[in-house]
Symmetry: C2
Subunit: 353 residues, 2 copies
């Protein structure tokens, strides 16, 4: 169905008709100049926003619209968890060209809805408009936290332990796999076109045994479970952020804002078996992938040294190093004992390439 058949307001109504606010704090959702919210007395309001641009942040050749909706929400929820908060509301803006149909938007919203439902978040507004060219998505997420729970990037102290959740580098390896298959597919199409033939059955990529890597890049999960486990264990991190640009880059943010240095042990960086296997196949250094790959959406946080025993027992959390005086710099200790200065080679969407 053509989007023009519904128009902007018809479209919004169609896409949001089944969305009933679940949070007490959502008083009025979609349908007025603003959404109206009411947070419990004394609580902090958290606000984060992320923009995703076609051709920069995602490639529709291998990203289903439903996954894109899901991921667009997740990257924002992840920022709220990274403050030790609870996400409550989302507003979603989307600009799309004429090649998109109502069904594409339905898929995108289905993904959004799945993400919102599994995290008890309400979609309370947005803007749906057109674009001359690519697809542009902008999501703002609001959340809340008790004042004493908020964790900033700036609270790390000397001797604090550095911890990460899950494992790193898998999303980056998933991206390499997808990009390789895309190149093969496009090459096959080009060759066929040259010969004036049609490709009836294009070679199907074989991702068997690599499913985890694809899931990490296409359907990341914001780590609410880690926030909950930390709370249960009575741990309030001294600093925290989510890993979107790569471990190196994020560690340097924490150290810069906390005025500290750090030591991270290469052998302690958590890796999945599939990540290591794919890195070998691509002839990449797996530590470099874990340090600079980005898009893992795991949590990076620091806890007081006295919490060592407690934090070490938390499922899916690993201590990878410790915070030092700022004069010590930010360093990686390799398996052979050599020290390397960490560099923020993380994903930079503004670099000249």
């Amino acid at each position: 169905m053509e989007i023009s058949e519904l128009g902007e307001f018809g479209l919004i109504k169609h896409l949001t008709k089944d969305m009933k606010p679940k949070n007490e704090s959502t008083l009025t959702g979609v349908g007025d100049d603003c959404a109206v919210l009411q947070y419990p007395e004394g609580n902090r309001t958290l606000v984060t926003t992320d923009m995703l641009m076609e051709g920069i942040h995602f490639d529709l050749q291998y990203t289903p619209m439903k996954h894109l909706g899901y991921k667009s929400a997740m990257v924002n929820l992840s920022d709220v968890y990274a403050m030790n908060g609870t996400p409550r509301q989302l507003v979603v803006s989307i600009a799309l060209g004429k090649r998109f149909k109502v069904e594409d938007l339905e898929d995108f919203y289905e993904g959004l809805r799945m993400a919102c439902e599994s995290h008890n978040v309400d979609l309370v507004g947005g803007d749906t408009t057109s674009s001359m060219t690519g697809l542009a998505i902008s999501i703002t997420c609001l959340g809340e936290a008790r004042p004493e729970d908020v964790v900033l990037r700036s609270g790390a102290k000397e001797t604090d332990l550095i911890c990460v959740s899950g494992n790193l580098g898998a999303a980056y390896m998933g991206l390499q796999l997808l990009e390789r298959e895309k190149a093969i597919f496009n090459e096959q199409m080009k060759e066929a076109q040259k010969r004036g033939q049609k490709v009836v059955e294009p070679a199907q990529p074989d991702f068997a045994g690599r499913e985890y890597l694809l899931e990490r890049i296409l359907k990341p999960e914001a780590r609410r479970d880690i926030i909950e486990r930390l709370a249960e264990a009575g741990i309030r991190p001294t600093s925290m952020m989510d890993i979107s640009d790569g471990l190196s880059s994020e560690l340097m943010h924490i150290c810069e804002q906390s005025h500290t240095g750090c030591r991270v042990y290469e052998e302690r960086i958590p890796l999945d078996y599939q990540t290591a296997a794919a890195a070998e196949e691509f002839n990449l250094n797996v530590t470099t992938c874990a340090l600079n790959g980005g898009e893992d959406y795991e949590l990076l946080f620091t806890v007081p040294l006295t919490m060592n025993d407690v934090v070490s027992k938390i499922e899916d959390v690993r201590v990878i190093g410790y915070i030092t005086a700022p004069t010590e710099g930010c360093k990686l200790i390799c398996r052979d004992g050599a020290e390397f200065e960490l560099k923020a080679q993380g994903w930079n969407p503004l670099k000249n390439s």
Copy 2:
């Protein structure tokens, strides 16, 4: 200066370095995963978002970046005033292609800053990234209001008076002027190119006597003054929204959401002299421009009939009609007494053109 020289984080630091939060409710601004806010106990939080896409919402051939920054903020502030609230914080996402320089972003932020300063709003976060093609801007604004002050679109009652602030159609006529001059300029360039010549002194558009129309399209003002005057006069509108898509379209939103009809008098619709003169020159019906032009960012609201004397005395507010039973439909009463059904022919960014 090339944006890549600064990188994403350097750029954000550079652009936001002089921005000191002015609102008590802003606890932490730019620089963490989320901004942290704290609204006074019991107050409502208002959230609105707008996306502006190059080639759809603005044309950089005649829109200076500073004006674009200013307008991007204003269209969001306008939505908060339209709820009878006070805007407090903005988050700004911008995606831009390689043709933009640091100086362009400085201009954009200068416009944002001017808008924020004149309305006491804090810029507390955002996302700066790149785009494969055009410029994309997404702004989310947060505001607050006491519970008893919030005005929705759905509260209009039969016999309520319909009021608008300022005048209508001027932004639309400003756009026509700019589009005409752009066409003349481009034609001149094309002709010169054909002849292998360079245009050293392109014809300068003569906008004398039309300055107001250009200001309306390039530098709209959110009507905080009207909200303040209504409060001083002790008037709480029964319904309100801002006019971004055109009077017809907005009136129909209010009537649909309030389950009412309306009568609006053509002769009561406020017009500026410049709007009327330009409409005549362009051979356009000025009432149609006022009804469907859009981008005026004036306030449309309803007040109880008993407020007639009070509201009529408020500077720059005009009563243009009244609310009826839903069975009466939404109608325009022309100067000759003829009645026409109002149609939402307002600006629709998703229509097929």
